[in-house]
Amino acid sequence: MRYWALYRRELLIEFRSGVESLIPIIFFLLVVGTFVFTLRSFTAGDNRVIVSVIWITTLFTSLLSLDKLFKRDHADGTLAVAVLHSDAITATVVTKLVAHWSVTGIPITVLGPAVGLLAGMHIDHASMLGFTLLIGTPTITMLGALVTALLVGLGRGGELLTVLVLPLYIPILLFGISVCHLHIDSASYTSELFWCFALLTGSTTAIPLALGPILKLSQDS
């Protein structure tokens, strides 16, 4: 019940922000569109380029949106209140992350393959892309949230986040793209897919538990 109430609060905040919360998705479409348009002579015969472009743009989109994950709550003091309720902090963090994934991860999971189809991908390859994004985007949210929490209240912009987070995104990026490429090449991709699941499981179990103490520490400025 508590999770549901907290989740509704997060979604309400996103909803009230209105068009502002659509910026990451528009950014995603804009960047992917620009790439596919400028690379159209390369992508015509080879879907692998589109897969890589969509995956990398997903990373950048997450960076753009993660920057403000805790910013507003820190600015108005609600993060301090949440942190002091230590028995509810995990619930707060989990719902925040799920809400963030709902407004960026899910749309990207849907829009990524759709853009791929428009760019000429085969439906099988596009659905595999969607599937890897479905596994990959929560992992991306988790890792990004971890580093964002380390930087709460420092008043630093996204470029710092980029330098710290992108190296941590490399494994999920490699495995996600590998699965799609192997699928396009009709090769076996089981082990890569298991790696994706391993990263998903590892990050979604460990990081929400670590975030509470990290956020508490981040109040100390």
């Binding site: 890792l143 494994p171 590998s178 990290i214």
Partner: protein, 250 residues
């Protein structure tokens, strides 16, 4: 914690560390420099040329020890991070701050020496394989640690943040390194795998091991010297520190 010898326990106090470690650093520098000179001269002048690569392989004696060392340094930072998170040991925090910039520079050295080696043997200075990628990522991770230390003004918070980033970064590096076999399709295969099918000849081993040991010793010296500096800076207001400064002035 009675199993820890007294001399080591003494080093956990900033004052004793500052006094005691000076002699250590001097010895490490002397030993490391002699060892490195011996190993390098041996490797560069007295070892026969390699069968396939001729003389260009000789950079191995500089490249391989450093490339190996930087990974050990990064992992040691993560271990110090765990120690810091669990036991709140101040020295672990100082170790992390001291080792990160040295690791970063050594990673640059490893990458550059690798490129110098790669250019004549592979025909290209850069190949996207697991080893080069993981070293490059390692450079970014070291850089991240240094930046994170600088942007967080509060030392307690900075130390915790560094610990967490180092631990996650280590997991990251392990995944990248041990997934070599998995992402075959992404990289073009290396033209020559030195440690693969072609086993390393015993004649090359002696200078290589001398250099590996010397780079460890030298790096330990650098890191301890940097730690000594940080200990002094962080305890500027302490009486023992000011007394030392007074002593130097006279």
């Amino acid at each position: 914690m009675n199993f820890i010898p007294t001399w080591l326990r003494r080093l956990a106090s900033p004052q004793h560390f500052f006094g005691d470690i000076k002699l250590w650093i001097a010895w490490l520098y002397v030993l490391g420099t002699i060892g490195f000179l011996v190993g390098s001269v041996w490797g560069l002048a007295f070892v026969p040329p390699e069968r396939y690569q001729g003389d260009s392989f000789r950079i191995l004696f500089v490249h391989a020890p450093i490339a190996h060392l930087v990974q050990v340094i990064y992992i040691s930072i993560a271990i110090a991070g765990v120690v810091h998170l669990v036991w709140k040991l101040k020295m672990a925090d100082i170790y992390m701050s001291a080792a990160a910039p040295i690791g970063c520079w050594l990673t640059v050295l490893a990458l550059v020496s690798g490129m110098i080696w790669g250019a004549p043997t592979w025909g290209t200075a850069w190949v996207w394989d697991a080893r080069t990628v993981s070293t490059l990522i390692l450079f970014f991770l070291f850089f991240g640690l240094i930046v994170l230390r600088r942007v967080i003004p509060n030392p307690t918070r900075a130390a915790a943040a560094l610990s967490i980033l180092a631990i996650v970064g280590t997991i990251n590096i392990f995944i990248i390194k041990f997934s070599v076999v998995w992402f075959k399709t992404l990289h073009q295969p290396a033209s020559i795998e030195l440690f693969g099918d072609i086993a390393i000849a015993p004649v090359f081993l002696a200078p290589l091991f001398i250099n590996i040991a010397s780079t460890y010793v030298l790096a330990a010296g650098f890191i301890l010297a940097n730690m000594r500096y940080l200990v002094a800076v962080r305890n500027v207001s302490m009486t023992w520190n000011q007394e030392w400064v007074q002593g130097r002035k006279q």
